[in-house]
């Protein structure tokens, strides 16, 4: 069948259109779609990478910020003692008075430790707290006349000791009160109440300074061998009371045979033989 030229022209046109459409829809469009998808994926992944890169770039400054925060936190932690040791605290306070010529300790007491908790905004207690203890001491001055009390020691020495206590560690050691009581016999009693504070931290980051005088016990270890109960042999003869009910005695002492100042060895109350 022979096509007319007009038909031939139209067929060629149709082929042309089909070719263009085929190229467009079958080749170029999928390729462009693929390109677009790749571009979108690239944009997304690049954005993620850029964000991550920013994060990675911030690691070093963040590390330095963290280190600075650690230093600042450590500084605050060190401002209070890491723990309370009553024996060390009282011994150190006594040594300060001794250094200021007030070695005559009349009274020492440590009140029960108080814990100061922090309540978080959610109503729970913080894992960190502060503990503090009040140490009361009474020391004596000297009159400057009596043997053992020369030279006279009084107010000036006491205040010097107070200043030493309040300036050595002003954050964790607070002098709560001071007082003087004149005996009207040429010397005075001085009393002081000192509050000592310590952090109780679950995750402490600062190292504990072992040279802190309110923490370190520097006395030699005591020799063991203490007694529970005062044996008769340790009682001063003048203090031994013979007329005393002793459940273990076979013969109880009576008033007639009592000698209040008797030596235990010669007491009227016989000691049963086992």
């Amino acid at each position: 069948m022979k096509l007319s030229k007009r038909e031939t022209f139209m067929v060629v046109g149709l082929v042309f259109v089909v070719f263009i459409a085929g190229f467009w829809f079958l080749l170029l469009s999928p390729a462009r779609a693929s390109l677009k998808a790749a571009q979108l994926e690239y944009t997304s992944i690049k954005l993620q990478d850029d964000t991550n890169q920013q994060i990675i770039d911030s690691v070093i400054p963040l590390k330095s910020t963290r280190d600075a925060l650690k230093v600042s936190l450590s500084d605050i932690e060190k401002r209070l003692l890491p723990e309370l040791r009553n024996e060390v605290i009282t011994e150190h306070l006594a040594s300060i008075f001794k250094d200021n010529r007030l070695p005559y300790i009349m009274f020492i007491s440590c009140e029960p430790a108080v814990t100061e908790n922090l309540v978080n905004a959610d109503g729970n207690y913080s894992i960190n707290s502060v503990q503090w203890v009040r140490v009361n001491m009474k020391v004596s001055g000297t009159d400057g006349v009596t043997e053992g009390g020369i030279p006279a020691v009084g107010y000036s020495e006491f205040i010097a000791a107070v200043k030493q206590i309040e300036t050595a560690n002003p954050d964790s050691i607070h002098v709560s009160s001071i007082a003087m009581e004149d005996t009207l016999q040429g010397f005075q009693y001085f009393t002081i109440a000192v509050d000592v504070y310590a952090f109780t931290l679950t995750n402490r980051i600062s190292a504990i300074d072992p040279s802190e005088p309110y923490l370190s016990w520097n006395r030699d270890p005591a020799v063991s061998g203490g007694l529970f109960g005062i044996p008769a042999s340790e009682i001063a003869p003048s203090q031994f009371t013979a007329l005393f009910y002793r459940p273990f005695a076979t013969i109880q002492a009576t008033a007639a045979t009592t000698n209040n100042t008797a030596n235990p060895g010669t007491a009227a109350t016989p000691t049963p033989t086992p």
Partner: protein, 299 residues
């Protein structure tokens, strides 16, 4: 007239097609031309396709490179390191708040200042003997003996001149009957016959603390507590409070303020925001809690 024009136009078209039928040689050159155009288009299409294909391949290669980089151990380790540091920072911030809040409480616990005793010592007149004193909780009580009733008053006048205390109270100035004390006549002459008790009040001071939190149910602290002790009547001020930039770059803006458990009303908040500061006069303990909300996402 219009129908004549249409007829002439149709006639012209027929003449145009008749040119194709009449000249096969001319037709052949048209087909060649069309084939040439088709070939050109094929080349062009191929080139476009090739460009698109190459672009796609290049982008996919870039994606693969980035993916490889993002999945590398060092990359992941650095991201993990950031996460660890961030978590660590959160813990440190909480610890820092706890420790500073506890320390500010300790800092504001009552304690004596021996400088007041020094000042008293320097202002005690010569004819007075202080026999007892107590210094506790902002009050110093002095007991002693004096030769005359005005000696303790001289002492108080000295204290007033030195501006040592906010108030000095005379508890008593008493002439003591010492006739029955067994003193000799000479001793009676020299004895200080008056006793006195005076109470000196020190200027009160109170703590002012400023804390910053994220405004949420758990109120995560943003910084350590800032604390200072100021005397009654002194002014406290905290500026630069409208925004807060966290360590990771997150920007927070002030949402509300609570002072001593009372929410600051919106009218006062506007003034605080306008001045970018909060201030007042100390009359008692002041606890300022600033609550912030996140303005940008940070990292």
């Amino acid at each position: 007239m219009a129908s004549k024009k249409n007829f002439e136009s149709s006639k012209r078209d027929m003449n145009f097609f008749s040119e194709f039928t009449s000249s096969s040689g001319q037709m052949g050159s048209y087909v060649s031309f069309i084939l040439l155009v088709l070939f050109g288009l094929l080349i062009l299409g191929g080139a476009i396709f090739a460009v698109v294909f190459i672009q796609t391949a290049a982008i996919k290669k870039d994606i693969s490179t980035i993916n490889t980089k993002m999945q590398s151990e060092s990359y992941q380790a650095e991201l993990l390191s950031y996460s660890d540091i961030n978590n660590n920072m959160a813990l440190l911030n909480q610890q820092s708040y706890d420790v500073s809040a506890l320390f500010s409480r300790v800092e504001n616990m009552g304690k004596i200042d021996s400088k007041y005793m020094d000042a008293i010592y320097d202002n005690v007149p010569k004819d007075i003997v202080v026999t007892d004193f107590t210094y506790n909780l902002g009050t110093i009580t002095l007991k002693g003996k004096a030769e005359s009733y005005y000696s303790p008053m001289d002492m108080i006048a000295n204290f007033t001149a030195a501006k040592l205390f906010t108030h000095v109270n005379i508890e008593d100035i008493t002439l003591v009957n010492i006739s029955g004390t067994g003193l000799t006549q000479e001793e009676l002459t020299l004895a200080k016959k008056y006793t006195f008790t005076i109470t000196c009040s020190l200027k009160s001071s109170y703590p002012v603390t400023v804390s910053k939190f994220i405004d949420s149910a758990i109120a995560t602290p943003l910084t350590a507590v800032k604390s200072q002790t100021l005397g009654v009547g002194e002014q406290y001020s905290e500026s630069g409070i409208n925004t807060f930039t966290a360590e990771d770059g997150s920007l927070y803006s002030l949402n509300r303020v609570i002072i001593n458990d009372t929410v600051v009303p919106e009218a006062d908040m506007a003034l605080i925001r306008q001045n970018d500061s909060i201030s007042g006069i100390v009359a008692s303990s002041v606890e300022i809690n600033l609550y912030y909300i996140l303005t940008n996402g940070g990292k």
